[in-house]
């Protein structure tokens, strides 16, 4: 067994190149990275990464990726991780998941047309997975697309979409055969965000600021007779559920990651600054116990992700591992948030400029640990999928979705 990536001299040389390039290009910002002031800097940094092919390092060059090996991609990931950033360095999960779906299910023409803008960081893409009537039950979507000549006309509503800085493309799953069998009546579309008939309204979620809408938010999107060219239908008519299984699988954690245990670091850093009745709280055995709680559960989450990363990259057949990592992380974060609240006291609950020293991380985590229980399939759904994949109460195990071409 070997838990570390091994690097050749070439890769170590590549690491130096990446490191020095990043040192020059990573934006230096203060305060909330998602603020109106700071977001454009990260957006621009993303374009620069895309220009070098480092935004989607392993994607083929012809589609706008870097065409790099997995090992070099890991090097980039590790180096950007030093800055506490990921790829892309802003909210674009629609591009990550949608890009994977197009890569697996698109025609050559679609790949050449759709992927380069995404992979080069020229556009931001949102995924639209949840409808007011269909939350966990994606296949039960009420959004409809009806063919009309060379176009489809889409009507419906999606919620919990995107972030606070707009998008260039949207993708979603629509019902294209209202009378068809479940899972065989859906189609997958890439939709320009500026199409006529699209209305985007901010939604207020828990923890968004008191006055108006705060820091980062989600949106409700209405489709009123939105026309989309039929050439933007990916994966074939009424084959949308299969396309969805690709991004659902990735969203459920099957991609894995090589990560650090950030929440432990953050909790410890915050605790280091605090005293209780004159003594550093880190000397208190209760505080240390909670810190170990954080350490243990986030280390296990890290190991599950690492295992999934290895399985995914080694093309080992996965079953329950993706949703397991996702479920475990959701529950571990909920418990970790409480441990942090116990260990640093009320300081966990503030992003006040004077009293918070965590860069707003802890306060945001108190909310996100709850909000994140649901997106990408709820914790309950992850358990349901695990049970099917394990084969609990059934001889035939359900197979995982296809995540590579």
């Amino acid at each position: 067994m070997d838990f570390e990536p091994a690097y050749t001299p070439d890769q170590e040389a590549f690491r130096k190149e990446v490191r020095s390039w990043l040192a020059e290009h990573v934006p230096v910002v203060e305060g909330n990275p998602d603020s109106d002031e700071n977001y454009p800097k990260y957006r621009e940094f993303g374009r620069q990464l895309g220009g070098r092919g480092w935004l989607r390092p392993t994607a083929p060059v012809e589609y706008g990726g870097g065409g790099l090996t997995v090992d070099n991609a890991i090097v980039i990931g590790e180096e950007i991780d030093v800055y506490d950033l990921g790829l892309p360095p802003y909210y674009d999960t629609g591009g990550t998941l949608g890009g994977a779906s197009i890569l697996v299910w698109g025609t050559d023409e679609q790949k050449l047309r759709m992927l380069p803008p995404i992979f080069k960081g020229e556009v931001v893409t949102w995924q639209l997975l949840t409808g007011p009537e269909a939350g966990s039950d994606l296949a039960g979507t009420q959004t409809e697309a009806v063919q009309d000549g060379d176009d489809y006309v889409i009507n419906g509503q999606k919620i919990y979409v995107g972030g606070s800085h707009g998008a260039d493309y949207l993708w979603t799953i629509t019902r294209t055969d209202p009378k068809g069998k479940r899972h065989e009546n859906l189609s997958w579309f890439l939709i320009p965000a500026d199409s006529l008939g699209i209305t985007i309204n901010p939604m207020e979620l828990m923890g968004d600021g008191g006055e108006g809408v705060g820091r980062s938010y989600k949106n409700t999107i209405f489709f009123d007779d939105v026309r989309v060219p039929a050439s933007n239908l990916v994966g074939g008519v009424n084959n949308g559920w299969k396309v969805a299984t690709t991004h659902l699988e990735l969203e459920h954690g099957s991609g894995g990651r090589i990560g650090r245990n950030r929440w432990f670091d953050r909790a410890r850093q915050r605790a280091m600054g605090l005293k209780k009745a004159g003594h550093p709280i880190l000397e208190d055995s209760d505080v240390r116990d909670r810190l170990v709680d954080v350490f243990v559960s986030t280390e296990i989450a890290r190991l599950f992700d690492l295992r999934n990363f290895w399985m995914n990259r080694s093309h080992i057949e996965m079953t329950y591992e993706g949703p397991q990592a996702s479920y475990f992380r959701k529950m571990a974060h909920l418990a970790t948030a409480q441990s942090i609240m116990e260990l640093v006291g009320p300081y966990a609950l503030t992003n006040d400029t004077r009293w918070d020293t965590s860069g707003r991380q802890l306060d945001a985590f108190m909310k996100s640990s709850i909000v994140d229980l649901h997106p990408g399939a709820t914790a309950d759904i992850q358990k349901v999928i695990m049970a099917r994949r394990i084969g609990i109460g059934r001889q035939v195990k359900e197979k995982a979705g296809k995540t590579v071409e």
Binding site: S136, I159, E211, K276, G278, G345, P346, L349, W355, L373
Partner: protein, 389 residues
């Protein structure tokens, strides 16, 4: 044995519930959370007129001297709202502290104004080196002529922004019992108060910059005073617990209701055992909070032994239970639960914000350990009842 409310309490309960449904429905509470003060002064006035703010205050000071159980009936309903505002801080906690520590002129001056709702009080104990209780008080007071001078910061002070007076704990010397309480007018020069940003509800930062406080307003300052202060906490804590029980009940009702409405995969979600499990765990936390709280109320009202055991137990159980109740409710509701307008997140926020109020579960569990680890049932129980430990 009778674990039900009396008929009068039942009437009180439905009266309070009707009032809240009329004056402070959930939609209005969602809106209040956006305002600067975070509560409705209009509701406050009406509540004062009905007499809620005087319930903890004896009749000779303008209150009604109600039992703790009566008081809990009101606060459980307020928690169900959850009606925001300095009700507990002023009408319960500060009233009990003034009653326990004030001399006759102080009581006569302030208690009737608390009862009428005219003056709002809050309690400022904790400081940047956060720890609950008087052990955490490090701010010294300086006596100069006929007044005291204080400089320093009190942190995480609930309801300070809306208070007219802060009962402020200060250190009068270096002995553990050298703790006094000053009544500080929040409009006095040198006092600045601001709400702290974050997932809090009403926690504030209070800064004193050479604030001069007239010399006749120091409460306590002796071992006996500290024991009075503890008595005030003993009587206030179960009321805060009742407020949380009300909150947990609301969260439970919302979850059961939603389980009967929301359809996914062609079924009411409540038919899925995963969802059932969340609600079962929720009601277990709710009922644990409820019955530990009720037993504490009964023990104090009926002057039974082992009151502190029951108070610490109730506080530890309700603080943890309220958080767990909201977590399970979020699992039931998924996305809808985090939409601000739906109202569930009011309780989520409250459960976190109140977690440390009057001491977090760890604090109360350690106190409990001191009381029960060496407990001899023959010393406290009357030998005939079945509730010995």
């Amino acid at each position: 044995m009778d674990l039900s409310l009396t008929e009068t309490q039942q009437l009180l309960k439905s009266g309070v519930e009707d009032f809240i449904a009329r004056e402070s429905p959930r939609e209005a509470i969602v809106e209040l959370a956006r305002t600067e003060t975070g509560y409705s002064a209009d509701t406050w006035k009406k509540a004062a007129e009905i007499g809620w703010l005087g319930m903890a205050i004896p009749e000779n000071y303008g209150g009604s001297g109600s039992s703790l159980t009566d008081l809990a009936v009101v606060y459980e309903a307020l928690g169900y709202g959850p009606v925001p505002g300095p009700y507990f801080s002023s009408g319960v906690l500060s009233a009990h502290v003034l009653l326990a520590l004030g001399d006759e002129p102080q009581r006569s001056e302030y208690l009737p104004r608390i009862a009428s709702g005219e003056a709002i009080f809050a309690l400022a104990i904790t400081e940047p080196d956060w720890a609950w209780g008087v052990d955490g008080v490090q701010m010294h007071v300086h006596r100069g002529g006929n007044s005291y001078t204080i400089t320093g910061t009190k942190l995480f002070v609930y309801d300070a922004l809306t208070a007219d007076y802060l009962i402020t704990a200060v250190r009068t010397g270096d002995n553990p019992t050298d703790i006094g309480f000053l009544i500080v007018d929040t409009k006095a020069p040198g006092v600045s108060i601001r709400r702290i940003e974050g997932f809090f509800t009403s926690e504030c930062e209070v800064t004193f910059d050479n604030v001069k406080v007239p010399g006749d307003v120091l409460l306590g300052g002796s071992a006996a005073a500290l024991s009075g202060f503890e008595n005030a906490l003993r009587h206030s804590t179960p009321i805060l617990c009742a407020y949380k029980v009300g909150g947990a009940q609301a969260v439970y009702d919302m979850s059961v209701e939603y389980s009967r409405e929301r359809v996914q995969f062609g079924q009411l979600i409540g038919r899925f055992q995963h969802v059932q499990n969340h609600i079962v765990q929720l009601v277990n936390h709710l009922d644990s909070a409820r019955w530990t709280t009720y037993e504490a109320l009964w023990k104090i009202d009926d002057r039974k032994p082992d009151q502190d055991i029951s108070v610490h137990l109730a506080k530890a159980v309700t603080s943890e239970g309220f958080i767990q109740a909201t977590n399970y409710a979020h699992e039931v509701h998924a996305g809808v639960g985090v939409m601000r307008e739906y109202g569930l997140s009011l309780f989520t926020q409250l459960s976190r914000s109140l977690y440390h109020s009057l001491g977090d579960p760890k604090y109360h569990r350690r106190k409990l350990a001191d009381l029960v680890a060496d407990y001899d049932p023959s010393l406290a129980s009357d030998g005939s009842n079945g509730t010995g430990y």
